[in-house]
Symmetry: C2
């Protein structure tokens, strides 16, 4: 494969964005990414939009985005991998460059979820579970799915509600340092524990919010990256896996098999190991998901996630800082934008441009973990400062 690197990053403000329409919201990050890359818009050879859709009325968001951003005659498509749509878009742009089809390609992640009310949103997402069986028959939605995992993890490993609350407290602390995050206020463990139960043991503060937002990355070939960028962030490997939508068919409920599989593939492609990572973004749609991700990605042994967290190892200064941008939990989770937002954050960290949230970069390697559904899809991407 040809080498390819992220040479431009852009990120909208996340939150309730009634001030912009779909095209405008996407353009906030596209403009920034294209400027950051130092390219002209006309040099972008193709665009991939990651968006799950269903919330907004336009049924061809890729066309809306291309038109608003002024990509006339530029080839485009939308990709969907549920909440991992953003990573799938990055993979598509990467393959275009890695194959030699394009020298410069753009991946955009976008979702505008507050176009519908929260209950409709929860239903729309719930339908992405096992629609005909678990959703229709048992009324399962995503808080309930992840609650099953939380209960199993508690029973098997003694994980507590307080452990989960710690994930939320960490997320809000870093979000308060990220001006683009949806939530800007710190919370306490007490506040998290006292919040409304959504699906026991998961409470309001265990759950990511409904968010509008976009993020974009410009991906270039080695020749272009070396010419245009002083800080190219190389895509070293993308591992992808999938799993049954029917939770009744899963082997256990203490981790996501798709994460284990996708991360093994990614580490192998990138010829690296969890120990060499300086920073990671993990798919914390619910707090238990972040704890399971530590284990499934190999940051610690199975069942040791809560201890890793309690020891502060996933904070800035720890062995593997995770979601120091606020994560899905507090930065927000505009479904299709999330994976691209993660790429932006890890790129920023590896470039050393994360300001007061900057982690220490030793090996120059970072990881993006992006899950669709309850591990129906999983995309793991390894990024590196070094070619």
């Amino acid at each position: 494969m040809r080498q390819a690197a992220i040479i431009g990053i852009g990120h909208s403000r996340f939150g309730r964005r009634t001030d912009v329409n779909l095209g405008e919201l996407a353009f906030e990050s596209i403009r920034e990414a294209v400027q950051d890359a130092g390219v002209e818009k006309k040099q972008i050879e193709n665009v991939t939009l990651g968006s799950a859709g269903g919330w907004y009325e336009e049924s061809l968001p890729a066309v809306v985005v291309n038109e608003y951003a002024g990509f006339e005659r530029v080839g485009t498509m939308r990709v969907e991998a549920a909440c991992a749509s953003g990573s799938a878009a990055v993979r598509s742009a990467y393959l275009s460059v890695a194959s030699g089809e394009a020298e410069i390609a753009l991946a955009v992640g976008l979702e505008k979820m507050t176009e519908v009310d929260t209950l409709t949103s929860v239903e729309l997402m719930g339908r992405a579970g096992s629609y005909l069986w678990e959703f229709e028959n048992f009324g399962m939605t995503f808080p309930a799915y992840y609650a099953l995992y939380a209960v199993a993890h508690m029973k098997r490993f003694g994980t507590t509600e307080e452990d989960m609350a710690r994930v939320a407290v960490k997320a809000h602390r870093y979000a308060s340092m990220n001006p683009l995050a949806q939530f800007q206020k710190e919370i306490t463990i007490q506040k998290a524990l006292a919040s409304q139960v959504v699906s026991w043991p998961l409470k309001l503060y265990d759950s990511c919010p409904i968010t509008d937002g976009s993020a974009a990355v410009v991906i270039a070939s080695e020749d272009v990256a070396r010419r245009l960028s002083d800080t190219p962030i190389w895509i070293k490997g993308i591992g992808v896996s999938s799993d049954s939508a029917n939770l009744s068919r899963r082997d256990d409920y203490v981790g996501l098999a798709a994460t284990v599989d996708a991360s093994r593939k990614a580490y192998s492609l990138a010829r690296t190991t969890p120990r060499e990572l300086d920073v990671a973004t993990c798919h914390d749609c619910f707090t238990i998901a972040e704890i399971m991700a530590y284990e499934d990605l190999g940051f610690c042994a199975k069942g040791e996630g809560p201890r890793l967290l309690r020891d502060g190892q996933t904070e800035i200064g720890g062995s593997i800082p995770v979601n120091v941008d606020g994560g899905l939990k507090a930065k927000g989770h505009p479904v299709g934008a999330t994976g691209v937002s993660m790429m932006v954050e890890v790129s920023k960290q590896l470039r050393g441009e994360a300001g007061k949230r900057q982690v220490q970069i030793k090996n120059g390697t970072g990881l993006v973990h992006n899950v669709g559904g309850t591990g129906h899809y999983c995309y793991v991407t390894i990024l590196s400062r070094d070619r």
Copy 2:
């Protein structure tokens, strides 16, 4: 780029498929394509599903398909480029192989449109136009969009309703020779002209039907293709373009600029010209669309489409046989499946396996033209018997 070839093709019966669910419908073509390729399912490294969605209740069709087909832990995603989603899926699988990511990848096209009633379907498609302006304000749906083009073409070039009816008669004739086609009966020009007006000058027989169906292709690297296949069909070039969703912003209404642009890109990549093509499938969602495609793809000069048709040049035995599988018009148009179905047909023709519909193969080159919306997206793919 690495070379890549289609080494396996599969195609479900098109029509009203209330006898199967979404997974079963996809599996009909997946099983056939995998068997045709002579590979084991476990050799498939990734799956891309082309499906526009919105008709069926499952919101993650790629997951449903992967699970039903038994692709455990295999990476997947869904791609959407409206009615060109199938070609976009083929491009994704192609890039995976051409980049070196995979040796063998699968592209599946799928749509199950009869899950909703016809009016809902027409509305769902209409929303894919210019949603906030032309759909909401003027009630434009796709028959109306293409009717604007038909009227402009009639006024500028003297094209007649009878010319358009000829496209339908040709489509039904070839569909009657294709056991997988939705319509199995020939029609006459008189019958087409006497059919109900949908949006003048387009009538019932100028319009493609609502269809359920799937198609699949297995794409392999040169090494694998040479080892496993006696008849690999090489992907020589994929050109992609886009256009404004607002018809009010188009330059004219006698052709699709995205088709002209995408085909130029494809011819250039494949180093070929329209003259060297032995066969083509064109996006005939309405009869006028096939006539415009002849011109936009360079099969004849602008305005000469009706004459090319009248002279029988786009029939078997003519200079460039088009849609001899029945086309969208009579084979049917299950949105996401259509582009993949076109790849299956052109591959079959280039292999010399099209039976009584076989065209004469001289140069061994064919073209797939797949449009999304009214040229919002356009994908043109050149296939060849020769590496």
